[in-house]
């Protein structure tokens, strides 16, 4: 081991000292910064991933829509199903309606799903908490969990559903009676907006409510796992008949602005929190500068023993590097340790502040998701180690500039 590396380690971890205070404080500063970065970026990443999963689970990987209605969905489905990489296609119709239960009206989004094909694309069954998707027919409905809770509807309850067609019919002096449907299931996706404001009916019932005839609003497409959704959309667009006036767009393209905002938020959090590491690095610089002043005569001695100024500089620079590496490792342990018990911490916090309901209502998730992408982890490690090493450069430069003869003479 080169002497400067040995001395750098010895100055950080002196012989006979169980708890090197300076080193511990410096490492702790960096570790706290890294831990905060890991926790914040992981939680942001977790929320982002949950949202992406939810988008794909409710919209499919690719969505085909027309300017207006798709009048012959079956013909289009046959064409799309033959595209390489497509594993499922299902038509849908959606729109706002009025739902009334026990004189309590709400205005949810009504999703009409084709029971024959929906499970090929959207894993609805996975989200049914009470009842069964198998019980859904033209006279039944499945409610989202928070909506059912808010109106007090239960399995077997009767709800009245009507659509804007009711008003259209009234204009022409026709009567369009609300449809009475029986609740056969309650679903929960884990997203507050969807869980509080959605009902699912059969496609036929939705076509009836909106007067669509055989037309639909669009097709949801499922692709082979691992296949790029944009690439799949390109393949589908290549085979769609131009006369149909339809276009396939990937979930990424459909939610481009939303995903951009998500990424921007994560990047901003990273930039803000990396400043904690920068502040910790300044404290490392300050401590190492004090060390250079305190050890001026020792630095002179190293010169007298045959140590070059470059090696003396390396000795201090390496101390910054070691603090960076130790701080990063400790910070990763702290961060991942905290993440492992994040839901317990959240439960304790909400219990203490009596805020469980508010949390679910405003933050849309009852559990804290966490996901740290390998790229984000690499970025945290590299940035921290580079910043900490840079923190050692100024003290190293000061040490290298000391002439041995002047250092030995210093009082």
């Amino acid at each position: 081991m080169p002497w400067y590396l040995y001395l750098a380690l010895k100055q950080l971890f002196p012989t006979g000292k169980r708890f090197p205070f300076f080193t511990a404080i410096s490492v702790l500063g960096v570790a706290l910064g890294v831990a905060l970065l890991v926790v914040s970026i992981s939680v942001m990443g977790g929320f982002g991933r949950e949202i992406r999963r939810m988008i794909v689970d409710t919209q499919g990987d690719v969505q085909i829509r027309a300017g207006g209605l798709i009048n012959d969905p079956k013909a289009l489905m046959r064409i799309v199903a033959k595209v390489p990489g497509v594993v499922g296609v299902t038509p849908f119709a959606e729109g706002v309606g009025m739902l009334e239960y026990d004189r309590k009206p709400v205005f949810p989004i009504i999703q009409g799903v084709d029971l024959t094909h929906v499970n090929d694309v959207i894993p609805l069954s996975r989200y049914i908490r009470v009842g069964s998707l198998d019980d859904l027919d033209d006279d039944t409905v499945i409610l989202s969990s928070q909506l059912a809770y808010s109106i007090g509807a239960q399995i077997g309850g009767k709800v009245q559903i009507s659509s804007p067609l009711l008003i259209e019919k009234l204009k022409s002096d026709e009567v369009f009676l609300p449809r009475e449907l029986t609740v056969v299931g309650i679903f929960e996706i884990g997203h507050q907006q969807l869980d509080s404001n959605t009902v699912i009916v059969t496609l036929r019932r939705m076509q009836d409510l909106y007067g669509l005839g055989g037309a639909v609003h669009g097709l949801d497409v499922k692709i082979t796992p691992g296949l790029d959704a944009d690439e799949a959309a390109r393949r589908i667009n290549a085979v769609l008949p131009p006369a149909a006036g339809v276009e396939a767009r990937s979930w990424i393209e459909l939610n481009q602005q939303f995903l951009f905002v998500l990424q921007l938020e994560k990047n901003l959090i990273f930039i803000l929190l990396i400043f904690i590491v920068v502040v910790a690095a300044f404290s490392v610089t300050s401590s190492l500068l004090i060390s250079v002043v305190r050890k001026t005569r020792e630095i002179g001695l190293l010169g007298a023993l045959g140590g070059g100024s470059r090696e003396v500089a390396l000795c201090f620079c390496l101390q910054g590097l070691f603090i960076g590496v130790s701080g990063t490792l400790s910070g990763l342990a702290l961060g991942f340790g905290f993440l492992a018990c994040r839901n317990d911490v959240l439960r304790l916090f909400t219990w203490l502040t009596d805020s469980q309901e508010a949390l679910e209502r405003y933050y849309q998730f009852s559990r804290v998701p966490a996901y740290l992408a390998p790229g984000d982890l690499t970025m945290i490690i590299v940035c921290t180690i580079v910043i900490s090493t840079l923190a050692g450069i100024l003290p190293a430069w000061r040490a290298a500039r000391l002439k041995p003869v002047e250092a030995l003479r210093s009082e």
């Binding site: 081991m1 080169p2 002497w3 040995y6 001395l7 010895k10 100055q11 002196p14 012989t15 006979g16 005569r297 020792e298 002179g300 001695l301 190293l302 010169g303 007298a304 023993l305 045959g306 140590g307 070059g308 002439k403 041995p404 003869v405 030995l408 003479r409």
Partner: protein, 232 residues
């Protein structure tokens, strides 16, 4: 004189202090042979330490030159092999124990292994610190610290030892013991020694005694070491 280990010829050194030029060394010449011990005495500020730094290659003269073993190369790389230094304030590295401090001089030579460890242990035993090898400098007395410094200076088997008032921080008895040890070890290993000291008795124990006054180096016969030579 036997083989010349250290030779300084016509050394001049001037420092600027504000507008004033301080002539610290004036035409200083010196030659030290293998195994020879030379003492330099003089008042504070007479230029002894400056001369020692020039001899060690830590500073450059304004004119004149220094040669080690007949070679003008007094650079950092050669310094570690050719000479060892002992200072008044010991300058031990506080984070390292006695053994590690001695080994540090060998590490800086790129040599470290079982043989080197054994050699360092033996050197510590030779200076009477076999039982204190794993003690930190803060747990050693002044005399013990200086003995560690002597062991460190000699561990690489240098040809020259430069000692700058090595007993300045020690009591008389301890200082006497350290000087005795230093002289004995240098004699045993045929290492040349240049000893800067204020102590007349210590100077008297060297083979040749010199006196420095106002930047000029003169011979001070052993019989008259207590009396500085008259100024010209």
């Amino acid at each position: 004189m036997s083989e010349v280990i250290l030779e300084a010829r016509g050394l001049h050194k001037t420092y600027l202090s504000g507008d004033r030029r301080l002539e610290v060394l004036r035409d200083v010449s010196l030659a030290v042979g293998r195994g020879e011990s030379v003492s330099i005495r003089g008042e504070s500020g007479s230029g002894k330490s400056t001369l020692l730094h020039l001899l060690a290659g830590l500073d450059q003269p304004d004119s004149g030159d220094v040669r080690w073993g007949g070679t003008a190369d007094t650079g950092t790389a050669r310094r570690a092999k050719f000479l060892g230094m002992v200072f008044q304030s010991f300058y031990l590295i506080p984070e390292l124990n006695a053994l590690e401090n001695v080994l540090m001089a060998m590490r800086m030579q790129g040599r470290i292994g079982a043989d080197e460890r054994a050699r360092a242990q033996a050197m510590l035993a030779r200076v009477g610190l076999a039982g204190r090898a794993h003690h930190l400098p803060s747990h050693l007395s002044g005399g013990e610290r200086q003995r560690v410094a002597v062991a460190r200076a000699l561990i690489n088997s240098p040809q020259l030892i430069l000692a700058d008032e090595p007993t300045g921080n020690l009591d008389e008895k301890t200082g006497e013991a350290v000087i005795g040890l230093l002289l004995d070890l240098c004699a045993e290993t045929q290492t040349a020694l240049v000893l800067v000291t204020h102590n007349v008795a210590h100077a008297a124990r060297t083979a040749r005694a010199l006196f420095m006054h106002d930047g000029v180096l003169r011979t001070a016969p052993i019989s008259s070491v207590s009396e500085p030579p008259p100024l010209p």
